[in-house]
Point group: C2
Chain length 322, copies 2
Amino acid sequence: MRKRKPLSVALNGPEALFSKMQETGQKIMKLFDIPAYIIGDTCWGSCDLNTHAADMLGADLLFNIGHTISMETIDKKVIMINAYDDVNFDIVVEKYAKDRANQKYKILGIITDSQHLNQLQPSRKILENHGFKTVIGDGKGQLNDGQVFGCEFYPAYDIQKRVDAYIFLGQSMFHSVSIAMSTEKPTFMLDPYFNEFQQVNDKARVMEKKTILSIYKAQEATKIGIIIGLKEGQFSKIKALKFKKSLEVLGKDIQLIALTEITEERLRNFKGIDAYIQVACPRIAIDNHFTKPVLSVPQAEALIKVLKKEPMDDFLKLRHWL
Amino acid sequence: MRKRKPLSVALNGPEALFSKMQETGQKIMKLFDIPAYIIGDTCWGSCDLNTHAADMLGADLLFNIGHTISMETIDKKVIMINAYDDVNFDIVVEKYAKDRANQKYKILGIITDSQHLNQLQPSRKILENHGFKTVIGDGKGQLNDGQVFGCEFYPAYDIQKRVDAYIFLGQSMFHSVSIAMSTEKPTFMLDPYFNEFQQVNDKARVMEKKTILSIYKAQEATKIGIIIGLKEGQFSKIKALKFKKSLEVLGKDIQLIALTEITEERLRNFKGIDAYIQVACPRIAIDNHFTKPVLSVPQAEALIKVLKKEPMDDFLKLRHWL
């Protein structure tokens, strides 16, 4: 800030960090005597930066806090601020390593999400001290080494032939289940808050069945709504129009919908639609509960195969779900 | 559309009209063979057009449906489509006119909201047939003759010295209570669905007390969050910064927040704030329930007066609440 001398700044990040953002905003206002706006809208990740809000506010810099990615800035104006959780994994990693049943997996891929990236090396050391071999997959795109997003898994997917199992560091069922679904390898989630670990492959299978069920339900749909997400990094109009074309050829009646927050509540405003495809974020369709089938991009691709009487294949065994 | 030949269009409007928008979108897609996107985000009025969404989608035209204003287009791209409710007021206006107690009000100001504008003249005729005199106030800015918004009341406010009472045509407690609050004249809401009418001044007084209570509660606040609404027609950064300055001089600790949807749920993410001022839309602070005081612009101005030990005056007796 001393170098760039902004006349005003904006801050955003996940809700868990709002109180830290408030403190930081107040410090900036006092120290530099400029307005610091906290953007209170949702911010799901580096795909959801709220730069339009920062532009409206005329903020010269937008600090995005807590979504560590491989880049430090995006488009000059956005500055990514790392925020690591201060929890460590020593106890739970020790516990995992000492578990007899798990000792059959000799080579472990270690994976985490952004807020625990600083725990990769200490955890690796503990595992190696116990005689395990470890692999940390290379980063790619926005991902750092050993990091996964809810939608992209390169550092996990790309090492699957080299490992016996995955260790996910963090209390995120979604991230760990996604690794299990995209690789089908034994995957363990190590929770540093409760100091407990669990294998998540059964949960992954349940979730996979749910995603398959949605596809079969959507097969019967006459009217399908294709939802384009309006969050900047989730915007995918071309994919939406491609799905529209393919599905119209297959006899479906398509409506196009644009939405910022894709929730059951917003979808309830639409009438007569039998199923939805959303091209925004795969987490929405896989994590949330909807009364109508809501398919993510890989599910929609599987739907098209099913409608063409082709096998749907391993539609989730991908390096990313976009 | 035949003249402008758009390559794609977007449609938005209030949730009650979504099914009509869906039908229209499908007709456009069939007739012109271009994409028609339904914007599914909230759309509270002509202050909330979602042109950013239309821009992201690359839509050449944005049809805003159901928010009749005095203009037919905004910025060339936005086309306002009138949508009138097909209900008529004959029965309820007759009922009002025949009510003995109400016959003491001889000169009536007739007011309505956008979807019943076509009912002004027929209702006026019935009242005049019963011997009343009627006044329909002139439109101004975006308002047509006899129309009010939730935040602007020129055609009601400006005729107050010429009328004994107001007749509001429609089932909207908010609009009718707003007229009563801004003028303090006898105000009647005529509901064409239940064919019942009621005087709303008691309700207006209850609501006014609630708005005053919030101001007194906010007086005790140490930390005040000033919320700038991110909806395009509600964006008011300058006013927010002005309030910040005035309140800091008065010893308050101010935080700046930017939000698209100002809801209790979003505000719950912020910690340690004792009261809020929102400069977006007065309806938010007056209509909705919040656990902390949330003040609209006229309430915030009253708060500043109270803090300066000045009388707060009739802070809602205004032509608009912005």
